[in-house]
Amino acid sequence: MSPSISAPALQVKAVSASPRGAAGIKQVPEVTKLIDVSVCIGCKACEVACQEWNDLGVDKIRTLPPGTYQTLPDLEYNFWQLIKFNETERDGRLLWTLTKYQCMHCEDPGCLRACPAPGAIVQYSNGIVDFVQENCIGCQFCVTGCPFDVPKISPSTGKVYKCTLCSDRVGAGLEPACAKACPTNAISFGTREKMLAQATSRAEQLKADGNAAATVYNPEGVGGTHVVYVLPHGDEPDLYGLPKNPRVTFVRLWKGPMKWLGNLVFAGGIVGVLLHYLGYGPRDVEEPRQDVH
């Protein structure tokens, strides 16, 4: 990995419930994790690497979920990435799409927009979106705000957790644990530019190889993601358990026009009070004061 995306990578670019675009942020190359679904064999080495590196352990070993090899039904506060084993049929053929699922590290993170706790969610200038549990108030607005249904609350600490894209490793010039562990090179990690180029050329190769709908999954609705996929059936991201057009609509509305409208209403209230005062003066107290002696 290039050292240019290491040590200075953890420059904070955006902070929850704080103004955006703080001054004095060094520009560092953005990083991206690329997942080539066409070569993922669902071996779960990434799951184990994630658990081991982050010192996680599930609370309760699952009782086998019906019909599947999947480790857990969904991500958990202490299980940050999961291979989804989706079984479907296409053209009379069985498809077993084994897809690694975790935080997408959106360029426009719904979680961060939704978060009312100052400094609980930060976005580094390399693109990593990280949760700072000390500042988390457990309101779970991020859970609602995430279009990928990623953050999960811990019942014991009351705080929310998710994949950090191994910000600690990346900060030290290493690749994320999952990428390091992947035996088939289905997970690559590097600068955004390089990863997008690699993804595009792999999608082209898959197209030439008979997968007409192969694409790069890097959804626009969230400003692009710092985890991108190469999907052989790119027209059907739901086959892989990925939303077709993820958006931060709810948060956008709330924090965008709604926030403006809210501010307007709030300001209007103050103006109204002022006008009322100017027009009508202070309120007359009709009732005589009852002094108690």
Binding site: S38, C40, I41, V48, T63, L64, P66, E87, W96, T184
Partner: protein, 805 residues
């Protein structure tokens, strides 16, 4: 492997069959993915289940467990009928032109070859031979037209394996087969190469050796053996199982794949008479004519100064396979037979390193019973296992016994694990790679060589003091290590390589071995791994001048650091590569250059020494002469010993392998019929686990916590079984219980007009470990049946019934 892991990235077509490499060899599987990414290679997966490899395959065909020979026979027939075989290669590098002796026949109706004795239930193989000329050379017809040429016999033999027949036997549809055949046989042109990856899905049958031979025949017809990106590649299941095999782990070999001397071979001369074959073609190299040099050097490594010219280099000290007093036949001490002998009370004690026979043997109840018949049992292990604790009530109950009835004295010796000792691992690619100890073993755990060293020195001391029936082999054994209690890995590695006893120098290669007692080598195959220049196994150069991921200076590969075996076959008669873009070796006018040649290095191609130097023919065998293979010279499809149907190839004739080894020793040595057990059962492994080891590891248990049974959705519906409900799987041997996993990944099949269901269950659980164990040990159900050549048990494809609990 004939080739190697990295070389798979040079393939155009990869057939994964009898193995599930994405599941069980995920790290090596990266080279399949590289071939796909770099060359646009096509991956074809053929298996009883749609598994992880199938998930990323270009084409998948589901077949009934145990019908692989029919499928491969169909591919051979497809290649021959459609002229999709590489004719020049076949003529030059195989025995296709050889003439077979008159009298060799195969009866399509009975399914038996000539020489069958129905009373003795064995073959007289005298007709399974070549026609020889006056000099003892095999007669050949280079036009391949002679009716008794191997080529014509083979063509006729496999003409019965039509796509329709394949479909009828295997339960796949004929179009799916034909599509697979199209892709696989597309490599018959010189510039396209295909590889085959197989594992225990092929070795776990009562016809496993024949099955692998069928694959080799297909690869030879397609001209894929010896080629970069080609070959027949066995995926070994443990880090060092290849090393174990090389070192004479199987009872019928000594280290380096020489046959074990038999009781009748009382002198070295007797032994060499059978161990050295006669050449069958005029210029054949006949490599095994070197056996005296290899074997005598091995005797020198064992017995050092006690091995002299005067005493036949200590041959009288060497163990010989005994004849049974009861039958007069040679005793069989292959793996499963050890426990069969134990069950009959013929074994006093057992020393068991790194093995858990209660779990990994077939027919677990018999295994437990066998252990209970021992006087003593020593287990060297990292964990408490079902074997070291077979006497616990819940395990012993399998054999219907109580703890107080068992007299076996059990010793569990804590052993260091792989990370707690240095040494070499020989991987599937035949690469001996040195590894270094990462941490000290905990507590009193000791590395294996120390455990062996301590036992040996103690035993020697006792023999020295007390004498005994035959102390000489123990007292004469060379044990001159710096610390006899714990020989170092380095010393042992040097000894295995061998040295010149006159100069004391480490030998550079096995070509330096002599038969006069002046050289020693523990295993000729590893001669060259630790030379005067040092330990070659520690090399870590990633330089690749070949540009084909050969990495010749990374570790060391047997034999002679050769990366592609039979690489002479990658060129034509003049030594020109079949595919100039993918060369293994080429003749430059004076010498063979490229990879280490599998051929005399300066032998002109015109001399025609033959690419397959280890065979007396000098060419590869499509037809295997003599009784090398017990079932016959060509692989025929036989049903698994427990099968739901009569063999559709010869419904009124022989259904199962006529010479399969079937135990009938204990009350658990039972076979079931389709009437009582109508479902085909098969066992397999999961990527999340490693054998019976990782059930002790919390992360593996998190990933796959408990035993389950994969059941076709249709069968579940028919039986009213819902996902996640408890079911019982029973065979004639016993039963196990686990949760039902209903899936479309196993489809119902029609076999010979009959609807047949298949279910599968993983092996990784038992009685001891984290997570839910509960005795869900898959091998309780597996049959007492072995391949008659390799004596490998039939763990895959047997009969069971399914019930709701």
């Amino acid at each position: 492997m004939t080739n190697g892991w990295t070389d798979i990235s040079n393939a155009d077509v990869i057939l994964a069959m009898g193995g599930n490499p994405a599941e069980n060899h995920p790290v090596g599987f990266r080279f399949v993915m590289e071939a796909k990414r770099r060359r646009g290679a096509k991956l074809v997966a053929v298996d009883p289940r749609f598994q992880r490899t199938a998930a990323v395959a270009d084409h998948f065909v589901q077949i009934r467990a145990g019908t692989d020979i029919a499928f491969l026979g169909g591919l051979i027939n497809y290649a021959l009928q459609n002229r999709r075989f590489q004719e020049d290669y076949v003529r030059l590098h195989t025995n296709a032109p050889f003439i077979v002796r008159d009298g060799f026949t195969f009866d399509e109706k009975t399914g038996l070859f000539s020489g069958w004795d129905p009373d003795k239930k064995q073959y007289d193989a005298s007709t399974w031979q070549y026609e020889l000329d006056g000099q003892g050379n095999a007669k050949v017809d280079p036009t391949l037209q002679h009716p008794r040429s191997v080529f014509q016999l083979m063509k006729k033999f496999y003409s019965r394996y039509t796509p329709q027949k394949v479909s009828e036997v295997c339960g796949c549809n004929a179009e799916a087969f034909t599509k697979a055949a199209e892709i696989i046989t597309s490599t018959y042109t010189p510039t396209r190469v295909g590889t085959i990856m197989y594992a225990l899905g092929w070795t776990h049958h009562s016809f496993s050796v024949q099955l692998i031979k069928t694959a080799a025949m297909l690869q030879l017809l397609l001209g894929n053996v010896g080629m970069p990106g080609g070959g027949v590649n066995a995926l070994r299941g443990h880090a060092n199982i290849q090393g174990g095999t090389d070192m004479g782990m199987a009872y019928h070999n000594v280290p380096g794949y020489m046959p074990i001397p038999k009781a009748a071979h009382q002198s070295l001369e007797d032994y060499f008479k059978v161990a050295v074959p006669k050449p069958l073609r005029p210029n054949s190299v006949n490599f095994w004519s070197n056996t005296p040099k290899l074997f005598i050097s091995q005797l020198k490594a064992y017995y050092a100064s006690a091995a002299t010219k005067g005493n036949q280099f200590g041959y009288h000290l060497h163990p010989k396979l005994p004849e049974s007093a009861a039958t007069g036949k040679l005793e069989n001490w292959s793996w499963a037979f050890i426990y069969d002998h134990a069950a009959q009370g013929q074994v006093e004690g057992l020393v068991d390193f790194g093995m858990n026979p209660v779990c990994n043997g077939p027919n677990s109840r018999k295994m437990v019973f066998a252990l209970s018949q021992l006087k003593w049992l020593v287990v060297a292990e990292n964990f408490e296992t079902e074997t070291s604790s077979f006497w616990k009530p819940e395990i012993l109950a399998l054999a219907g016994k109580k703890t107080e009835d068992v007299k076996t004295e059990v010793f569990l010796l804590p052993a260091a694990n792989f990370a707690e000792k240095s040494g070499s691992f020989t991987n599937s690619s035949r690469w001996a790679q040195w590894k270094y100890k990462a941490l000290d073993a905990p507590g009193q755990a000791k590395p294996d060589q120390e455990i062996v060293g301590r036992i040996f020195t103690k035993v020697r001391e006792l023999y020295r003091k007390e004498g005994g029936a035959f102390p000489d082999p123990v007292l004469s054994l060379d044990w001159s290590y710096a610390n006899p209690l714990s020989p170092s890995e380095d010393e042992v590695a040097r000894e295995i390589n061998g040295k010149d006893l006159t100069t004391g120098q480490q030998l550079p290669s096995f070509s330096a071995l002599k038969d006069d007692g002046t050289t020693s080598s523990g295993n000729w195959l590893y001669c060259g791994s630790y030379t005067a220049d040092g330990n070659m196994m520690t090399r870590r150069s990633t330089e690749d001048p070949s540009g084909m991921q050969r990495f010749s200076n990374w570790a060391w590969s047997w034999p002679a650091n050769r990366r592609i075996m039979y690489n002479r076959a990658s060129t034509d008669a003049q030594g020109r590569p079949w595919d100039p873009s993918r060369t293994a070796i080429v003749w430059n006018g004076k010498a063979w250059v490229g990879d280490v040649p599998d051929y005399p290095g300066t032998s002109e191609p015109e001399k025609g020494a033959g690419a397959f130097i280890v065979l007396p023919e000098g060419v590869a065998r499509l037809f295997t002469p003599g009784d090398t293979l017990k079932e016959g010279p060509f692989p025929e499809f036989y049903e698994p010993v427990e099968s739901p149907v009569d063999n559709p190839m010869h419904p009124t004739g022989q259904s199962r392998n006529p010479v399969a080894t079937i135990f009938k020793t204990t009350e658990w040595d039972k076979l079931g019929t389709a009437k009582d057990f109508p479902i085909v059962g098969t066992t397999y492994r999961l990527t999340e686990h490693f054998h019976y080891w990782t059930k002790n590891h919390e992360k593996s248990i998190e990933m796959q916590p408990e035993f389950f049974v994969e059941i076709p959705v249709e069968l579940g519906q028919e039986m009213g079984i819902k996902d996640g409900e408890m079911v019982r799987v029973s065979s004639a041997r016993g039963h196990i219980e686990g949760k039902a996993m209903l899936t479309k990944r196993i489809r119902p099949m029609t076999i010979a007009g009959k609807k047949v269901y298949q279910i599968g269950f993983p092996i990784h659980w038992g009685f001891i470990g984290r997570g839910k164990q509960g005795g869900s040990l898959a091998n309780i159900t597996t049959p007492p049946v072995l391949d008659p050549n390799s004596f490998c048990p039939e763990y895959k494809g047997f009969l069971v019934k399914l019930e709701k609990v």
